[in-house]
């Protein structure tokens, strides 16, 4: 088996009295794509935010490349150099051009020279088909284009792991395809990804493993065939029935 990139073991997260994650364990290997499915509020987003330390967990452990992230000597900013995240609402920086949105991480986090990263950034834009929009501001772009730029912004950091939080949920239905196509490409090129999604067909196509969460509990996990075609649990069946 290939190297373990991310390992969650018994992760618990509470917001005040509300227990959002109740002992979730997931293992993600290099070049693997894991899709998290489940209703809104089932804890998918929280799980992703815990994985790149935007949230601290209350119990359990998360390790990244064999290193515990709960170790107090860990610098969260350095961990995030290796774990990219893409959001439902894009969150591009409106005061920066498309090119500068992509450069901000490499230049100000990795302290690389702008001239050197610029070529890479333009190549990334070429790859997502937006090379000619490099000098535009995000508000001139469609939702689908903005989300592709947001993905490019994460890729510019050359992350070991990419977290994607319902990245097509805020998009007009006609724009969902272009973003999913890009993610499918990434998957085929071996990008390690943890994806929270409501797009079941997409999950079936790209995922090595599908994880079903319900109210913060990991109900069931397995290959796309196991989850989508032969779900073992009633609650999984009910959920899949509802989203079809």
């Amino acid at each position: 088996m290939t190297e373990v990139v991310l390992e969650l073991a018994g992760v618990v997260k509470r917001f005040d009295e509300n227990e959002v994650l109740r002992g979730v364990s997931i293992t993600l290997h290099r070049h693997e794509v894991v899709c998290l499915i489940g209703a809104s509020g089932s804890g998918k987003s929280t799980l992703l935010r815990c994985a790149n330390l935007l949230e601290t967990i209350d119990a359990g452990t998360i390790s990244f490349l064999g290193q515990s992230l709960q170790d107090p000597r860990i610098d969260p900013d350095l961990v995030r150099h290796h774990i990219g995240m893409v959001f439902q609402s894009f969150n591009l920086f409106p005061h920066l051009s498309v090119l500068n949105n992509i450069l901000i991480g490499p230049v100000y986090s990795l302290k690389r020279r702008r001239a050197e990263v610029r070529e890479e950034a333009l190549a990334l834009l070429e790859r997502i088909g937006l090379r000619d929009r490099a000098d535009d501001y995000p508000d001139r772009l469609s939702g689908g284009q903005q989300q592709r730029v947001a993905i490019a912004r994460s890729l510019a950091m050359r992350p070991t792991l990419l977290l994607l939080d319902e990245v097509t949920s805020a998009l007009d239905p006609t724009l969902v395809g272009e973003v999913l196509d890009l993610l499918t490409d990434l998957a085929h090129q071996g990008t390690t990804m943890l994806i929270a999604t409501h797009e079941m067909n997409f999950a079936r196509d790209v995922a090595n493993q599908v994880v079903y969460l319900d109210s913060g509990v990991l109900v069931e996990q397995g290959s796309p065939e196991e989850i989508f075609d032969h779900p073992k649990h009633q609650s999984t069946r009910n959920f899949l029935e509802r989203v079809r």
């Binding site: 969150n91 991480g105 986090s109 001139r140 994460s154």
Partner: protein, 271 residues
């Protein structure tokens, strides 16, 4: 605005302004008020001053207002930012400073500037503390304006930072930026746009409030007008001071309104 609109607005302006002027002109005490407040000869005399009669120039007094305003403005921008930074900090070590900063903004937004003026201007000299107790009224005035207005400006800064959506912070941290880099590269550049109009508003206020330093005896425009009035028994000097303050503040008010309208148009354009 169509042609009918232009005619209607011109007509209503003439009628309303005409009515106000008529009330003022034909009031029983109209001539008296015109003599005591709008005497052109005395207004000019108040503006330039007359050393032979011991009359101070209101125009020269305004120069004092100008430098007090400029100095306080710069200090307010710095102190306000410092207080806002403390209030927005999250480090547990800074907890006592956060409490102090919160108390500071509460107190100085609540106490009238005039009262702070009395306390500092008459209190500090009584302390007999050398340097601190030996300053001119204008310097105490600047200190008070800085102290009071920093409380307002700190809140303006803070509101500006809080107006930037939380997702921007999450996105910035997710590309590995530190807290400081996030502030500097992502949050502050966006906050500045929201903050400028209310900040300029506070500065218009600050310009006017330099007149309050007159209670400490600093010879600025209002004080010069008062001395003129007490000597000549005519208030035209006050009118001169009012006009001079207007000349100072109107460009700033217009500019602020222009910025607000510009920003509003930008938002309405859906950008």
């Amino acid at each position: 605005m169509g042609r009918r609109g232009v005619v209607a607005s011109a007509l209503s302006s003439v009628i309303i302004l005409g009515a106000i002027f008529a009330i003022f002109w034909f009031a029983p005490g109209g001539p008296t008020v015109r003599y005591f407040f709008f005497n052109p000869h005395l207004m000019w005399q108040a503006f330039v001053g007359d050393p032979h009669q011991g009359l101070l120039s209101v125009g020269k007094g305004l120069v004092t207002n100008l430098w007090m305003f400029t100095l306080s403005e710069v200090l307010v921008l710095i102190l306000g930012l410092l207080i806002a930074w403390v209030r927005l900090s999250q480090s547990p070590v800074l907890f006592p400073f956060r409490v102090l900063a919160t108390m500071y903004t509460d107190v100085f937004r609540g106490v009238p500037v005039l009262l702070v003026m009395y306390m500092v201007g008459f209190g500090l000299p009584e302390l007999n503390l050398g340097f601190i107790s030996n300053q001119s009224p204008a310097v105490y005035g600047c200190a008070v304006l800085t102290i009071s207005y920093s409380a307002y400006v700190a809140e303006v800064y803070r509101a500006g930072v809080l107006s930037v959506p939380h997702g921007q912070l999450l996105a910035a941290r997710s590309v590995g930026l530190t807290h400081t880099a996030t502030m500097r590269r992502v949050i502050l550049p966006q906050a500045v746009r929201t903050v400028i109009p209310p900040l300029l508003n506070d500065f218009v206020s600050l310009q006017k409030d330099t007149a309050l330093v007159s209670v400490l005896g600093a010879i600025e425009a209002t004080r010069a007008a008062q001395i003129y009035g007490d000597t000549v028994f005519n208030f035209s000097g006050y009118t001169v001071a009012a006009v001079l303050f207007l000349l100072l503040t109107i460009p700033m008010t217009r500019f602020t309104d222009h910025l607000i309208a510009h920003d509003r148009n930008r938002r309405l354009a859906g950008t």
